[in-house]
């Protein structure tokens, strides 16, 4: 890991893009948060708990988390993004729910649904990770019980070098591997791990190890954003 690699924007291998986080950005919502990493901006809003319909989806023991990922039509760098649900956004809704649910305790709201709507107003890779990071802050802001925050980052490899937080330019390199990872930073437990591309076992383990300190840095920022709201 000590070898110096060259990234197109001059970052070191474990450097992230500039980040910014803010909580309470939507005053009308129960909880809300904005997370910006490089050119990717995610705005998360929490609604509910409300009655879950259709009824057969209800869980009599606990509330359910439902995530809604949405890329705004002007958010991409190229063509207009077609609005509305797509195969890709459905998958991301699912992985977001699975990434956030282990941290969240909704047993006080049986039969209900808690909705997290995440809008990506500008995208430059790493959107699902930005969405999860923003969603975790918004859920905490709404006052739900969580055993830990959830922080997410995309690690990966470019030309065989393991790097953190790929941007679109890096992701589009032909042999680039993208590994979105979400973690509960205090417990150091992984709640999301996806892999897109071909990678050796060693490189994968190295990438997962790299994600830990990076997620902790993101968690520190999330923490700061939440406490700042009440200063």
């Amino acid at each position: 890991m000590s070898k110096k690699i060259k990234r197109h924007d001059g970052r070191a291998a474990d450097d992230m893009r500039a980040m910014e986080a803010k909580v309470g950005v939507v005053p009308n919502a129960k909880g809300s948060a904005m997370f910006k990493i490089g050119k990717t901006i995610a705005v998360a809003v929490v609604r509910g708990p409300k009655k879950l319909h259709p009824k057969f989806l209800q869980d009599p023991e606990s509330g359910k988390l439902r995530c809604f990922y949405n890329m705004i039509s002007f958010s991409g760098s190229g063509d207009r993004v077609r609005p509305g649900p797509s195969r890709r956004s459905k998958e991301i809704n699912l992985v977001m729910e699975n990434a956030l649910a282990p941290a969240l305790d909704l047993t006080a709201f049986p039969g209900s649904a808690v909705e997290v709507h995440v809008n990506l107003i500008q995208t430059d890779a790493g959107t699902r990770c930005a969405a999860i990071t923003a969603a975790a802050m918004a859920l905490a802001d709404a006052g739900f019980r969580m055993k830990d925050l959830v922080s997410a980052v995309a690690v990966g490899s470019i030309n065989g070098n393991v790097v953190a937080d790929l941007d679109k330019t890096e992701e589009d390199i032909s042999d680039a591997v993208d590994i979105p990872i979400a973690m509960m930073p205090n417990e150091e437990k992984v709640t999301l791990l996806q892999l897109d591309g071909k990678i050796t076992q060693e490189a994968l383990l190295e990438a997962v190890e790299l994600a830990k300190p990076v997620c902790k840095k993101i968690a520190e920022l999330q923490r700061k954003a939440i406490t700042e709201r009440y200063q």
Partner: protein, 276 residues
């Protein structure tokens, strides 16, 4: 001896390590994870001897039997009203839980109509519904004034210790105020004074976690009341009224006659309805 990682009254977020070792005990929004005590909510830490308690800054209302709540009538069937107390539970109010006599087959809108607010008591709480009752001192339909919503975590702040905050609000603005445990607040007075009271309550909702809140709210009320211009001479604050008991139920005695009158009226109209 266990180690403490945070200071009293510090703001903590979910996952924050509060203390290690078995000497400390978790309470409120804190939980034990092996050797460590962590926070599970965004809140303020209170230390009481060995007990570490995290008081949440925002919560969802958790109904309990006996709570006084302000509920909005949303629907009705032949035998009961649905009232919204909580965002995901149905609040049910049956015919026998209202003070008026309701004839079989009577038009229920004559008593409590869609959109009416009632000051009710939670009788029982189920998994997906809760039972409300209007039988009890001071429980009634709310008319006039305005309803605002605050977070239910801030209800104790608006009431204050022994009702100190709410009596401050009532004395300074001359408004009648009822705080429901579910976070709905009813404010009634001269329109200008209502606005002052609403601003102050919203301020408590936003800044209720700060220290010296009573002084801040007092200053805010004094300043705002100085600038109030009452346009209609009839609607001056009724300062000559006897001071009310410093409790949220304080309006009870005062309200009782009007409630009875309203009930009579409702009965009359109901009779007319049933004759048809």
């Amino acid at each position: 001896m266990g180690e403490l990682f945070v200071k009293e009254r510090q703001i903590v977020v979910p996952g924050d390590k509060l203390a290690s070792g078995m000497d400390y005990l978790p309470a409120g929004g804190a939980y034990r994870d092996g050797e460590e005590i962590r926070s599970s909510v965004v809140g303020i830490l209170g230390i009481n001897g060995r007990v570490l308690r995290v008081i949440a800054l925002k919560t969802h209302y958790n109904p309990r039997p006996g709570d006084m709540v302000i509920a909005k009538i949303t629907d009705m069937t032949n035998s009961l009203w649905f009232a919204k107390v909580d965002s995901f539970r149905d609040g049910l109010m049956t015919l026998r839980e209202v003070p008026e006599y309701v004839d079989d087959g009577a038009d229920l809108t004559q008593f409590y109509n869609f959109g009416d607010y009632v000051l009710a008591k939670v009788a029982a709480v189920g998994r997906t519904n809760l039972m409300l009752t209007l039988k009890g001192p001071g429980l009634r339909k709310i008319s006039g004034g305005r309803i605002i919503e605050i977070n239910s975590a801030k209800v104790p702040r608006v009431i204050g210790k022994q009702g100190s905050m709410i009596s401050l609000l009532k004395d300074k603005t001359g408004c009648r105020i009822i705080v429901g445990q579910n976070g709905l607040v009813w404010v009634q007075g001269a329109p200008e004074h209502e606005l002052v009271a609403v601003d102050a309550i919203n301020y408590i909702n936003e800044k209720g976690h700060l220290q010296g809140l009573t002084d801040k709210v007092s200053d805010l009320l004094d300043k705002a009341m100085k600038n109030v211009v009452v346009h209609d001479s009839e609607e001056k604050p009724q300062k000559d009224k006897p001071k009310k008991k410093a409790k949220e139920e304080s309006d009870d005695e005062e309200e009782a006659p009007t409630r009875r009158a309203a009930g009579k009226k409702a009965k009359k109209t109901a009779k007319r309805g049933s004759k048809k």
